[in-house]
Amino acid sequence: MIDINESVMQFLLAFVVVGPLLGAVAALLPAPPGLKGKSPEQAVLRHGVTVTGAILIAAIVLALGFDHAHASKMQATTDISWIPALDVRIHLGIDGISLPLVVLTALLTFLCALYSYFKPPAGGSPKAFVALLLLLESGTLASFAVLDLLLFFLAFEMVLIPMYFLIARWGGEGRTRAAWKFILFTLLGSVVMLLGLLLIGIKAGTFDMVALATDNGRSLTASVQVIAVLAIGLGLAVKTPMWPLHSWLPDAHTAAPTVGSVLLAGVLLKMGTYGFVRILLPIAPHGFHTFAPYLAAFAVVGIIYGSLACLALAKRGAKGDLKRLIAYSSVGHMGFVLLGIATMTPTGVNGALFANIAHGLITGLLFFLVGALKDRTGTTDLDTLAEETGAALYGKAPRLGGLLAFGAVASLGLPGLAGFWGEMLALFGAFKPAADLSRPAYLTFMAIGAFGTLLTAAYMLIVVRRVCMGGVEQEVPALADVRGYEFAAWTPLVALTVVAGLWPRALLGLTDPAVHQLLAGGHR
């Protein structure tokens, strides 16, 4: 949109990746004179807001300077040799697929830092919290910006330690177990993924994603591709998470602090689906083709399973936890994303990428809202909240109730909001999958997936009815309604949900050329 010098763009992208890392180190040091603030705690939380804010600005400038006419081209690329022995290069770059994810990550992390500034998380020291948050941001941004398989693995692993500590230190009930489950599942997946990445790198002679994508799997034999896709896909599927490898997710979400849940759902899960699109689709198309129908089948099972689990949790007397419910709904939503990718068509993959972003915005918002609800009422247990008639949030805190209802209908895919397009396009893709995939199978998957959207609508509406509606008794004190800083943290998410719903072209225009190129064989 605006013309920015290429070397400035390079610097901005490098800054976006390295900036949080430096910020994390700086957070551990004592504050310099003049920046001491009211107390050390306040100073370090402010430091977090400043750094994430600077990163967000850099990401926005990057998006503005991005050449939208050539969205399929890698831009702002840096390519420096780092470890010649392993052929690892610091190769950074963004195209239409990674740019939205970079901006989403920067935005969500900034909002989390802002939210924590006004509402410091209970648990350990804020110093460590900010340092871990920034380390997490650096890892996620790096995984979307790097173009080297081993660097991608490094970035993939980099988020594990910060997230483990965020859950284990600042989390709620059952946090130790949940944190262990999270890290062991993900690590087991990612070491298997490493083996697949090494296999590709060794057989093809390079770890460079752009070169490998251009090669489009021509230098890899069929059996190598099949083994590599199985190994890498397993690692990514744990992260995504795909049914039946999802069981770490509900526990992690339930135990994590609000900010941790927001980032886990909003950003970390996307690393898995991004890996499918960026690595498996272009680099090992034949291997992926072999597994695509199975992936699609697991995806629709995930959709149905997630919805049914949510329905069961939303039932009266089920002692369902709202956070756990949203976590299960994530399993369903990520099922749509995987279904879209498994169609191997431009429509499906575009839909998947759209649903990725939409899920980040909407689920991020929902976790924020549930966190706020927990702060006010002290519980996220649906039965305790709703009691006999319903929690009556509309009456007690109308704005909070309104926002929660908004998040719920956005999540169920109401046309006009962000949740709609991605899932619809994914189902469209399944209607007409890539030429040599079995169409009847995909039609079945589509039908089941469509049924899943109905179930999603059902449980989301039940939640709205039980939490937002109900009779207000006179003597019950009204809950505090949405506060200023909460508005500040949530408004961007609400606005973007509406914008993406009404003007999907803004996003699809970015991803579409890049997706076409990936499916047709690599980058120019």
């Binding site: 022995a85 980099m158 330690i161 070491v191 090494l198 060794i202």
Partner: protein
């Protein structure tokens, strides 16, 4: 006219520069032993610093050898065969050994001061330096006799070091255990060497390699048995399963710096011997030792990691015990590329992965031991639970220990640990040892559990009265050295990983 060549063939000219690193270490050891007799009690700490300086000088003499083509004690005539060769492999391992001994010596300076009554300093330093001299000689040896002599020079003082504390029952028991099992292993090794000698008629590694390819059919079984038996002695030093049982008790019984020394230098002795024997001497028997080492590697890492996993945080000496078991697990990773060398087209590259991994492991493992030595000064029992809340009292030390442990686990921010594991994995994948790579992957996850558990404990709120640990200068130096090394390597992994890309011999 004929007198000169005759004299040349009888009197060897020795390249003193090439043999300087082990020689200096040994000479300083002797000087320390003699000086001990004449120094008054109050001046004994000088011995420690003398030894540290001696090791530093020995390490510095590696610099003029960097071109890597010195060899001495050679057979004249064709084919040329030398007993001592200072090629790149030798230099890297000698650097590792002398550097490791230097760091262990720094830890010992404090330890001896704290434990003055029970450890005689003169003997201690003499033993440490002689063992280091043997360990430095080993990678340079290119004939089986020198190899065994070096192995024994490195190990015999180590037995005494383990049992050096007067009046410590556990210490003497550990030494006896270590001694008996080690001597058995050496005896078996010697028998293997005699078989190999019987079937080939030479002890020089390169000549053994040539002649093993056409051994008389009748002697084939003898040669095969010889190859396997020879490996056992070295596998024992690496603490490969099933020769690992001495490790936990020995580490706990020994003074802490000695345990640190054994975990790094002892292992270096074992695996460099293994590399020499397998890749240089017995390449034609790769179909025998390749699978054997692969199985050994898988067993070693699994048993080691499971053993470490079972340590209870509140048991006495659990920190050292955990480090001991984890070092067994790490030995398994070190064996993987050596096993891969038996399958690979380019064994040298695979060997390089082992060397790179060993360098990383040496730096961070010694760092972890340095922190353990620091904590052990106030908490004699050195339980893992004693590390709870270390961050509150010693933030920098806690961050360093967390970094070392994550390097050992191979997770960022321990970038060097991660990439060292990646090279080992890639050696296995490259050689087609997929199953071993998968076993190792599972082990990495198991190992993460106990490393991370310990790491998490450092940042918990302390229980009871927190004790601030004051670090004396030598300990601070050791911590700083290992910490800087670990961080620098994380920024520029190429420094050690380049050995994994080029041939070392």
């Amino acid at each position: 006219m004929s007198a000169q060549p005759l004299a040349e063939s009888l009197v060897q000219s020795v390249d003193w520069l090439a043999v300087a690193p082990p020689t200096i270490a040994a000479a300083v050891g002797l000087v320390v032993l003699v000086a001990d007799l004449f120094l008054p009690e109050a001046r004994k700490p000088v011995l420690g610093w003398l030894s540290v300086a001696g090791l530093a000088v020995a390490a510095l003499t590696l610099l003029p050898l960097l071109d890597g083509d010195h060899s001495t004690f050679c057979l004249n005539g064709a084919p040329r065969a030398c007993s001592y060769t200072a090629d790149h492999f030798t230099l890297v391992i000698q650097f590792l050994v002398l550097g490791g001994a230097l760091l262990a010596a720094l830890l010992s300076v404090t330890n001896l001061k704290d434990d003055e009554r029970r450890v005689p300093p003169g003997e201690f330093w003499f033993l440490l330096l002689s063992s280091a001299a043997g360990a430095a000689l080993l990678p340079a040896s290119r004939d089986l006799a020198t190899l065994i002599v070096a192995l024994e020079v490195a190990s015999l003082p180590a037995f005494a070091l383990v049992g050096i504390r007067h009046g410590d029952k556990r210490s003497s028991e550990a030494a006896l255990k270590f001694f008996l099992s080690s001597v058995t292993a050496t005896a078996v090794s010697l028998m293997g060497i005699s078989f190999v000698y019987a079937s080939t008629g030479t002890l020089y590694l390169t000549q053994v390699a040539q002649r093993l390819t056409h051994v008389d059919g009748q002697l084939h079984t003898l040669a095969q048995a010889g190859v396997v038996l020879t490996l056992i002695g070295f596998a024992f030093k690496t603490a490969a399963v099933p020769f690992h049982f001495w490790v936990p008790d020995t580490y706990v019984g020994a003074p802490l710096p000695v345990a640190a020394y054994l975990s790094v230098v002892g292992k270096a002795v074992g695996f460099s011997g293994l590399i020499l024997v397998t890749v240089v001497a017995f390449p034609s028997y790769a179909d025998v030792w390749g699978p054997a080492l692969a199985a050994l590697a898988a067993l070693t890492m699994t048993v080691g990691n499971v053993g470490a996993l079972r340590q209870q945080a509140t048991r006495a000496y659990s920190a050292v015990r955990l480090l001991a078991w984890s070092s067994v697990g790490q030995a398994g990773y070190l064996l993987v590329p050596i096993a891969a060398a038996g399958y690979a087209k380019d064994p040298q590259k695979a060997i390089g992965s082992t060397v790179a991994y060993a360098l990383m492991y040496a730096a961070v493992n010694l760092g972890a031991f340095a922190v353990a030595a620091l904590v052990g000064r106030n908490r004699a029992l050195n339980r893992i639970s004693d590390y709870r809340g270390l961050y509150a009292t010693n933030p920098l030390t806690a961050l360093l220990l967390a970094f070392f442990l994550l390097c050992l686990a191979g997770l960022p921010p321990g970038v060097i640990g991660l990439f060292a594991k990646v090279t080992v994995f890639s050696a296995a994948v490259d050689a087609g040892l997929g199953w071993l790579a998968v076993v190792m992957a599972v082990n990495v996850v198991i190992a993460l559990f106990y490393y991370l558990q310990w790491t998490a404990l450092l940042f918990r709120t302390p229980e009871g009265e927190p004790a601030r640990h004051r670090a004396p200068a030598p300990l601070t130096a050791a911590l700083a050295l290992t910490g800087v090394l670990g961080v620098a390597l994380s920024g520029a992994p190429q420094l050690v990983l380049r050995f994994a890309a080029t041939g070392l011999f």
